[in-house]
């Protein structure tokens, strides 16, 4: 990787100093140091989505080619959002700077940059709010913690609000529940209004809008890749599974992040899904139009989230499905749990989800009509509907990474653990302060998982990697499981940097390994094609 960070892991660790070197943060200072920021979005992708001020520019340019009325625009968007979101107005007003959030942010822990303390990140915006929207701020200025909105402030925003992965860890510890994610979302909407966008959000969003998925996979290529997976399952198990695409009248519409069918190690999770659905004889379908579970709109703006998410319900209605099953993804599930029904519902053309295998009615999804795959599978296992052979995962010593959004914006903590305990014999938890609601982000979520941002990603991922290192040394853990496509895309790089040798896998890859299928061959290899005899143990 050309943009690989040049710092060695030991050097990076030694370089972290939690004593702030600067005096304060009121004077905007920002240096776009290579490896610590994301490139801008290209004009053509902005244009495709009708976003304002399309042009080609880069953060390291002196001139950001802002529109002449940029300041009025930013402030008017701020005012609009203050009136639309109680969270935003409240979080601008009630912080007491107690510092409880300060060392909870993975970017702060990994960089020591005091502006990465969640409180200061929010203050970068709050100071401008005070200046233009509060009386004391107008009167007392800097003494009141208020400051003018200048181009330098805007540049600082761009740097630090694209150095937040919207993971919500700080909000767990805040005595008022102030959620920096909300603040970051609003800041990104304000910046978007004057054309400040990053590439790895706007390009996937544009792709998703056009082709139905972030990777821009057109329908025929989608069909090819699913067919290819079907062939691979046959090679591995001797069984030819069916994988219907765009099938009208199927009972269940299955939607998973596009990386599952186009990237590694996601691919093995896809094989796991296919095997499971075949073994159950599930009446389901894939969709090419709604071929993306993830939603990079969440990282961009409320409207973009809604535009991309609209495809899920629209496709379920067009195909005449009864309910939707969702694959392993992180932020997708924040959108499904906290936004989808509100923005694009009510889905009254669907039915309350009922598992056709166990008859379980998923009351918890009775309005949204969308069930998480681990809820679905945990229910199967609990009803003894699967024959599992956990020995086929004995070569793995497993730990589990709670992804931010399923943990802190949904609360799905037990289902994945229940499944893992059923499909493997060696499962070890990382320390309590680093899992469940306390989990640490991969460091590359919310659109920041680009190569040019590599140093910051490795820094942000340090707390997660360090917890993995702990269980690796203690229990010999060699695989980090997770149920998030961004995790599966970025954790391998993080592991290579901090803990070489630790692999990354999805939950349903291990389900696939353990699943006994009727009429299978002797299953000489795991889903990765590694022969069982060959593994070192």
């Amino acid at each position: 990787m050309s943009d690989e960070t040049e710092l060695k892991p030991e050097e990076m660790l030694q370089d972290i100093d939690y004593t702030p070197r600067q005096k304060g943060w009121l004077e905007p200072t920002v240096k776009f140091r290579k490896g610590t920021y994301c490139y801008s979005a290209q004009a053509k992708h902005q244009s495709y989505l009708d976003l304002p001020n399309p042009r080609n520019w880069q953060p390291f340019d002196e001139d950001w080619k802002l529109p002449s009325n940029w300041k009025e625009t930013v402030l008017s968007v701020m005012e609009d959002r203050l009136n639309k979101y109680r969270s935003f107005r409240l979080f601008m007003d009630i912080c007491v700077r107690c510092g409880a959030c300060a060392d909870k942010c993975h970017f702060y822990i990994g960089s020591g940059d005091p502006k990465n303390m969640p409180v200061v990140r929010a203050e970068l915006l709050r100071s401008v709010y005070r200046k233009y929207f509060t009386t004391p701020g107008k009167i007392f200025g800097k003494f009141g913690g208020a400051r003018e909105l200048t181009e330098d402030v805007l540049k600082e925003w761009f740097y630090y609000f694209y150095q937040c992965t919207e993971c919500r860890r700080c909000s767990v510890y805040c005595p008022y529940g102030i959620d920096t994610c909300e603040v970051t979302m609003m800041a990104r909407e304000m910046m978007s209004a004057v054309g400040l966008e990053i590439g790895w959000i706007v390009e996937p969003a544009a792709n998703c809008f056009r082709t139905g998925n972030h990777l821009g996979v057109p329908p025929h290529a989608f069909k090819d890749t699913i067919d290819f997976a079907v062939d691979e399952v046959e090679e591995l198990t001797g069984i030819r599974v069916e994988a219907p695409v765009n099938k009208k009248g199927a009972e269940i519409l299955f939607i998973t992040p596009s990386a599952d069918y186009f990237a590694s190690p996601h691919w093995f999770t896809l094989l796991g899904y296919l095997m499971l659905f075949h073994e159950l004889g599930l009446d389901y379908t894939w969709s090419t139009y709604a071929s993306e579970g993830g939603n990079f709109g969440l990282f961009h703006s409320n409207d973009m989230l809604k535009r991309l998410n609209a495809k899920m319900y629209a496709e379920a209605e067009r195909l005449g499905c009864k309910w939707i099953l969702g694959g392993e993804c992180g932020h997708m599930w924040r959108v499904v749990n906290q936004y989808m029904d509100t923005v694009n519902g009510p889905a009254d053309f669907l039915e309350v989800p009922v598992s056709p295998i166990t008859g379980t009615r998923f009351e918890n999804a009775r309005s949204t009509k969308m069930v998480h795959i681990t809820e679905f599978t945990a229910d199967l296992i609990n009803n003894n509907k699967l024959t599992l052979n956990p020995k086929r995962n004995d070569h793995w010593r497993v730990t589990f990474h709670d992804s931010c959004n399923p943990a802190r914006a949904m609360g799905i903590l037990e289902e994945p653990r229940y499944i893992l305990n059923a499909v493997c014999n060696n499962f070890f938890e990382m320390p309590e302060t680093t899992i469940r609601e306390n989990t640490f982000c991969c460091g590359s979520g919310a659109g920041l998982g680009t190569d040019e941002n590599m140093e910051m990603r490795m820094r942000g991922g340090l707390p997660r990697a360090n917890a993995v290192k702990y269980v690796r040394e203690k229990h010999g853990v060699n695989v980090l499981t997770c149920m998030c496509a961004i995790d599966r895309a970025v954790l391998p790089t993080l592991m290579d940097y901090w803990n070489p040798g630790v692999q990354v896998s999805g939950i349903h890859e291990l389900v696939g390994n353990a699943l006994e299928m009727k009429g299978q061959n002797d299953r000489p290899t795991d889903l990765r094609g590694t022969p069982y005899g060959d593994q070192e143990e």
């Binding site: 969270s87 409180v119 008022y176 535009r307 707390p463």
Partner: protein, 310 residues
Amino acid sequence: MSIFFGVVIPYIAGFVFLGGILYRIWKWGKSPVPYRIPTTCGQEKTLPWIKSSYLDCPHNKLGVLGRMALEILAFRSLFRNTSVEIKQKTQRLVYSHNIALWLAALAFHWALLIILIRHLRYIMISDEGVPFLLEGLASLDGVFEWAVPTVYLSSIVVVLALGYLLFRRVSDPQMRFISLPSDYIPLLLLLSVIGSGFLMVFFWRVDLTQVKELAISIVTFQPITPAESLGWGFYLHLLLFCILLAYFPFSKLVHMAGVFLSPTRNLANNSRMERHINPWNHPVKVHTYEEYEDEFRDLMRAAELPLDKE
């Protein structure tokens, strides 16, 4: 002069406080809550055989009530606080449970509440009318009754706690970095109000019956001319308190009211069970299936994918 400090200033401060707080709450309340965004700090309610975390991830109003009560009465979230340290030798990050801030904050807020309740005796209409609860509280609180005048536990606690909160702001480089003048002002104001109260109790004794007469006349909106013997120790204490009151709505102290409205805490995690309504949910431009099929029809046909229009 005594009318100005004893009557006019308290009324101004009282109205600024009430008006200001109501205005802030009205302002917050005017902005809608478009989404159901609780921070889930435990297992959600899903399958019946999976135990859900009723208080940290509530799925109904009662659970939310419990969560808010824990938050407001016991500072639940602050109790989670940890501090991180890098052990360079073993290359490990170590997190330790750190309850100092929680303890100091909780001690400060509860002690302050007890002190405020204790001051209610000055506005109770008659001596016999001092409610039973207030008596009980005073006797519990006044454990150092052997001292004359009585030293209250809450007074000691509030000073120690405030002292700690100020100390950590000044001594910890991270705290110094994030602190604004508006973080020191409330601490210093509170300390000065309490300090002047001490001075009044121990040095510049005032006639409490006269204080009570004045206090009752003010809260019943029948202000009297304050008795002349009320010395400047009393007026100093009252003035500092009035400054604090008037400062309140314009400062971070509004967190007292705001915490009740925080959408990451006061909403149930039930948005898959019940649809949450966003009052401004506006239409957006979407890419329809028809447009999609129009663009990709030939490729889809070649791949033998079903089509809506042949």
